[in-house]
Each structure stands twice: as structure tokens, then as C-alpha cells.
Amino acid sequence: MRLRASFLALAASLGLGLATPAAAQDTLRIRLNADIRSTDPGVNRDANTDGLVWHVLEGLVALRGNATVAPMLAERVDVSADGLTYTFPLRRDVRFHNGQPLTSADVAFAMERYRKRETNWRCRGDLDGSVTRITAVETPDPHTVVMRLERPSALFLTTLARTDCGQTGIFHRDSLNADGSWRAPVGTGPFRLGEWRRGQFIELERFAEYAALPGEPDGLAGNKTPHVERVRFTIIPDDAAARAALLAGNIDILPDARTRDLRDLRARPGMTVHSSPSFDLQIILMQTTDPLLSDVRMRRAIALALDVPELVRALTEGGSRPSRAPIPVGSGFHTPLMSEVPARDLAAARRLAQEAGYRGQPIRIVTTRRYEAFYEIAVLAQDMLREAGINLELEVLEWATQLQRYTRGEYQMMAFGFSARLDPSLSFEMFTGPKATQPRKAWDNPRVQAMLEDSMRETDRARRIALFEGMFRQLMEDVPVIALYSSTNNAVTPAHVQGFRSWAVDAPRAWGVRLARR
């Protein structure tokens, strides 16, 4: 320690200080496991990109912590009785980072870019498809935006708020270059984009004129007042190095600690672990067109041979609840019926496999080491199925290769994970659909397809729940997939970080956080 101090003294005396202490005092440093792809909302993106962009841009509506939708830039949302017209009166106190006030023309401008094919916005198909189709975006006055739909849709507002759609963030036209390409976000969020040094860090600066909503922070909605001058997302790809960086005081928030490190981190003085159930889904997919697995008895045998609660307990060290339903446990649409996990039954599994003509031939399960959970699921499933005489063979692929196999449906079984789906219809839609046109879909059942489309149009909550329960029952009959659990986000902070909370999406939120160093 003394040596280090003399190093620093030497450095300071030579005018080569590592960082000016005053600036470091007010910089919140957060680990990011990989660089962001761009700052273009919902276009060239991944989860890290979404998590950065939501500090800078805001949409008309935003997600609450429980995945319901709240108004953000809109004062409120008025829906016509026929469900076809959505009116968004805009808040009048909102300014962009360049000082310009927010007007309906800005919203129309942003929406036009999102809806253009050339933009390649991830969610263009979701707002211009069979379920939801925007027919017009109108601006009757500078403070009102009206959107018209072709048919009523239960998904419209959720889609606008989805993080992978970049929250359909409203940006000032200065965000674009003269040729219409994306330059850098000029938004209305609590932080503005500072320096982005690729492969190293991205810095955000506090937006002093941010117009915060009253109340408490809630998901991406509510009060998002920034309390720190600067946020630095430090890119640290290696998990072990990230943990060391937290302990050495080089970062202030480790948003994604590994399950296996939690016990040790909890035991350290001053460290707080923040756990929240996520809306993702860890799952085993089965290819129903495979000669062997096309027999529903074989798929049922595999499901019965798995001890799901034991598997989930081992994988998450008790952090997540096992659930065979695709709707996350944390969702308001997860009903008691969906919490039922059938008991393991090795005898029945053997019998069913026998009836399906299974004679011990190897079944290949595709997995990867990119996401440790996928790999561990495959290893544990292999072990459990062996006890029922079912011979699983691991095929460990590199991630991009596995993704291609997934997209093309080229697998027998696959350990996989779906990113967070915030609407229960989407939780089923992600693996349900016609294989002929969408080979990645695991469940091809026309009757279920019809129920799914009903659930997307139905706006009555009780009737939607009835549809979801019906689909869940059918899922347990057909067993095209074995849903296991939704993972748990574990963020860790040292004592001087106050006001931080983890939430359903694993990327952190820097607003509402204060630094209280000595």
C-alpha cells in the first residue's frame, strides 16, 4: 500500500496523475461485459446496446418494473372505444439535449424513420404485421400525436415500450447525418452521450435540464433524476476480471455477478447483492419433425425423466423458481396453474420411451459454452435422462453456429434461452408458429396458433388469461419444449453506492443512484 501511495505521489508530482480525484468522485463506473453495437435505438443492437440507449433516449411510453406500460413522454394514453385510435398528449416540459422543446413533429419524424424499410428497425414487422399495423401517425397540434391501427391490438403499447425496440425512442432530427444515417442520439433522457471509446468505455454525462417525473423510479418509467455527474460503462469481458475489478474498487456496480460468486461476495463487508427475477426463459427445445422425437410419447418420456426442481435448484443455487410455463414467474399473467411442475417419474418415462420404439440410440442435444447456463442444462439433463435409459449426447457448438442451427431448426434437442419477453402472448409466440415458413419455431400446432392470435387481439385481461391457461395445458400435452425457469439478475454494489436497484432486465439503470464516498 505504501508503495502504491509513493507511486501515486510520484505520478502526481510529475503531473501524470491517473485521473483527477474530483472527477473520479462523481463518476459512477459500471461493468459492461461487451461493447455496445451502436447508439441507434433498436436497429444495430443487443442487450448491452438497449441498456445504454435507455439512459439517453425515451419513448412515448415506458416499461414499469412489473412489465406493464406507463406513459413517459406522453402525459397519458387515450385509447378509443373501438381500440383503433391511440392519442398521446405530450408533456410540455420536456427538452432535448440540444435545448429544443419536444413537439409532435419530432415524434412523427422519429416514427417515420422507424417505419421505413431501409432503417432495418427490429420492430418494424411488429407494427406493420398481421397482428398490429399502424395505418397513420398524425399530429393535430404541436403537443398531440395520434396513431391509428388497422385492428385492435393488445400488444401495441408493449411493442412501443420494448427495450429491444429501443423503446421506440424519440430523437431530435440532429441525431441524423445529412444523408439520413444515424450519427449520435440527441434525446430527452436523464443522461447525454459523452465519449465512446470503442472496446474500452462509454461515458454518459448528466443532462442538467432533465424534466423528471414525480415519484419513485419504476422500471424504465417514473422518476429518473440523475444524481451523478458522469456514468462510465467500463467494458470488461472476463467475469473473473470483473469481479476482481469490483473488489479492487475499479468499478462501482457489477450488474451481472455469476451465481457461483454470490456466496463469497455476500460475505464481504459492505457488498450488497441485489437480486431480481428476470423475464427471460431457459428452455430445452425438441425438434418435432425429427423421426424419433416426432412421437409425442418420446418427448413426454424425456420431460418425465427430468427432475426439473432439482435441476433448477442446482443451476441457480435456489435463486430461481422452477416453472414449466413460458410466462415468467414475475409476470402478472403467471397463474397458480402455471406454477405446477409435474413430478419426475422414471418408470413412466421408461415405459413411454419403450412404446415410442426407443432402443437406446443417442439423441444429440446442442449447447454452447458462451452461456454457462445452457451448457449446465445440457450436462445435467444428460445425467438425469441416463437414469431413465435415455442416451443424450452433447454437441457443444460455438454460439453463432448454434444460433444458425436454431434459426434453421436443425437440431434434435437444444439447450436454449429466450431473452426477456414482456407480453405473455410473446412468451408463447417466441417458439410457436408454422415451421414451413419459420423453421426456428419449435411448436407447430394450428389450433394453438389460432389461440395465440386471439390472445394478441384480445384486450380483456380475464379472457387473455383463459387463453394462456389453455395454451399452457396444450403445451404440457404436446411437449415440444421443456420450459425450466427464468434466471435471476444479481447485481453487486459496494457500500458507497446508494439507491441502486436491479430489475427484470439485466442491464442496470444509473438514474436514482448516488455516490457517497467517505
Binding site: L3, D46, I236, A241, A245, N250, E398, T401, Q404, Q438
Partner: protein
């Protein structure tokens, strides 16, 4: 091994002609690297569109993205376009981040080069004297100990040693920051802090390789007649080693240093990952995982050029150390 002309040192005109000839000979290699990387990447399953879209890859969205990146065209057309632009000095833009590939490579290479040059330098200064001493005392227990130590260093995986250092010096002693990087241009002292651990890690491992090489070639040289002559004439032993044995023994070591530099400059992905340095190796590995074709192609071409240049420099230095080398 290609050897440079000249009997003892170089004449200016020779050098120029030799360098030009070598560069000309290297051209097919560069073309081969470029072509094989291009087609190999397209044989490997997975493409940038599926990686970007992940679990929500609808066929329409994949098709749209492929059009946006020009991947819908026939592969040969794509290759011709890439070659045409590369010849004009434009390596394209990264699919992942939209950055221009050329400047991206140069920025990342600075980091890698700083670490590689520093660590190889340290390793040479440590390993060559040690290796020569071991050879001088060949088959003694001291020699065996030196070989054992060198082999031990060789047997440690770099990511393992790197993490140990990170824990000891970064976490327990707190001497250096665990993560981050600043360039020398910004802050010399800070940059030294950040590259200290990776440099020491690599230097130790390279020392292992070089000690063995230096020892082996010194053993060879010490058997030669002229050494015996020198000894017989009563030349002091230290002088035999320094003036007579060293120049000849160093030549093969130089070749190895060239090979090591070449392979390190092209990718110390593992070290860069452990120490979170934005270097060339990490860039390549991440690009491979993301199927970022323009970056992979650009980096591979760059690495091939580095190989050619490093080998050329080594061969140019060769006659300086090994007077036996004749025109080849």
C-alpha cells in the same frame, strides 16, 4: 529458412534488391491469405444477420439485413468487390460497430504492439544470458535446474498466470488497476500501470521458450572447432562466450524471436481478454464470434503483412549475427 545474401554484413544495393525481391515473393502469400479467409468465413455456419437478430430472427428480418450488408450477392461478386476496395486502401466498415476497419486495426494494433515489444524485449534480456550460462555448464545440475525452470514457465497457461497476477498485484496489493487502458500518448505513467501485468505475464512465458533455444544453440556452437581454438590460445572464458560464442548462438534464437513476435502480434487474444486490453487479438476473436466479415478479413490481411515484415527484418538481421550465412 530463407537466408539473406552477404558474407559479413550488407551492401546497400544488395539490401534494396533483396527487400524488393522478398516483398514480391510475399505477394502470393497475401493473396492466398485474403482468399482463404474470405471463403473459409463463408463456409463457417452462422452469419452476421443471425447473430444480430438472435432468438428473434424472422426470415424476413434476416433477408433484409443480408441485403443491407451486401451478403445477398454471390460470394464471388462479394470477393471481387472487397478486393477492389482493399486495393484502393478501403477495408470496409465493421458490421458490428460501423467503424472503418483500417483505422480500427491500427488503433488496436498499438495496444498489442506495445505489449509484445516490451515483453519480448524483457524476455530476450533475461533468457539469452541465462540460456548461454546453462549451455556453458551443460549437464550440470545447474543446467538441469535452468531447463526445468524454463520448462515450468512454458507449462503455465498464460490466462492462468495472468489471473494470478491480477489477483495478487491488482487485488491484494493494489499496485495496479485491475481493468482499463490509456494510451501512451495520453498518459505515459498511466499506460505503464496498465500494461505492466500483461507484459510481465507474457515476458515470463516467452522467457521459458527462449532460454531453451538459447541454450540449445549455444551448446551447438561451443562444440565447434573455432571455440576450441580460442580456448587453446588462452582466450579468457568470458571472452570466448561473449565474443566468439554469442554472435553465432544468437542467430537461431533470432529466428525464434521472429516467429514469436509474428504470432504474438497477430493475436494475444487470451491475455487481452484477461487484462481487458483493447488489442488486435481480442478484436479478431470477437469479430470471429460475431461473424463480422470485414473486420476478420482486414485483421487477417494485416496479420499476414506483419508476418512478412517481421520475417524480412529477421532475415535482414541474420547476417549481422551469423557470418557463416552465405547468399542463398
Amino acid at each position: 529458412m530463407r537466408r539473406a545474401p552477404g558474407v559479413s554484413g550488407w551492401r546497400g544495393a544488395d539490401v534494396l534488391a533483396y527487400v524488393l525481391k522478398r516483398l514480391l515473393v510475399a505477394l502470393p502469400t497475401l493473396v492466398l491469405v485474403a482468399a482463404s479467409v474470405f471463403f473459409l468465413m463463408r463456409l463457417i455456419p452462422g452469419d452476421p444477420a443471425t447473430v444480430i437478430l438472435g432468438d428473434a430472427a424472422t426470415p424476413e428480418a434476416v433477408a433484409d439485413l443480408r441485403v443491407a450488408y451486401g451478403l445477398d450477392r454471390p460470394v464471388l461478386v462479394q470477393f471481387a468487390l472487397w478486393v477492389e476496395r482493399a486495393l484502393a486502401g478501403d477495408l470496409g466498415r465493421s458490421i458490428t460497430s460501423g467503424e472503418a476497419v483500417g483505422p480500427l486495426i491500427l488503433a488496436r494494433f498499438q495496444v498489442t504492439a506495445a505489449i509484445v515489444f516490451a515483453s519480448v524485449g524483457i524476455a530476450v534480456l533475461l533468457a539469452v544470458p541465462l540460456g548461454m550460462l546453462a549451455a556453458w555448464k551443460q549437464n550440470s545440475w545447474g543446467d538441469v535446474a535452468a531447463v526445468a525452470a524454463a520448462t515450468f514457465l512454458l507449462s503455465i497457461p498464460s490466462f492462468w498466470l495472468g489471473l494470478i497476477f491480477l489477483l495478487v498485484f491488482g487485488l491484494w496489493l493494489g499496485w495496479v488497476p485491475v481493468v482499463g487502458y490509456v494510451t501512451f500518448a495520453e498518459d505515459v505513467w498511466g499506460a505503464l500501470h496498465y500494461i505492466a501485468l500483461p507484459v510481465v505475464t507474457l515476458a515470463l512465458i516467452e522467457t521459458g521458450v527462449l532460454i531453451r533455444m538459447a541454450r540449445a544453440s549455444t551448446v551447438e556452437v561451443l562444440r565447434l572447432d573455432y571455440i576450441a581454438h580460442a580456448r587453446a590460445k588462452g582466450v579468457p572464458e568470458w571472452r570466448v562466450l561473449a565474443r566468439h560464442a554469442f554472435p553465432n548462438a544468437f542467430a537461431p534464437t533470432l529466428t525464434l524471436i521472429g516467429l514469436i513476435m509474428g504470432s504474438l502480434l497477430g493475436g494475444i487474444a487470451v491475455i487481452e481478454t484477461v487484462f481487458t486490453l483493447p488489442g488486435l487479438g481480442r478484436l479478431l476473436v470477437e469479430a470471429i464470434f460475431a461473424r463480422d466479415y470485414p473486420v476478420i478479413q482486414g485483421v487477417m490481411l494485416f496479420i499476414a503483412v506483419i508476418y512478412v515484415v517481421v520475417n524480412l527484418i529477421v532475415d535482414l538481421l541474420y547476417p549481422v549475427f551469423d557470418p557463416r550465412v552465405t547468399a542463398g
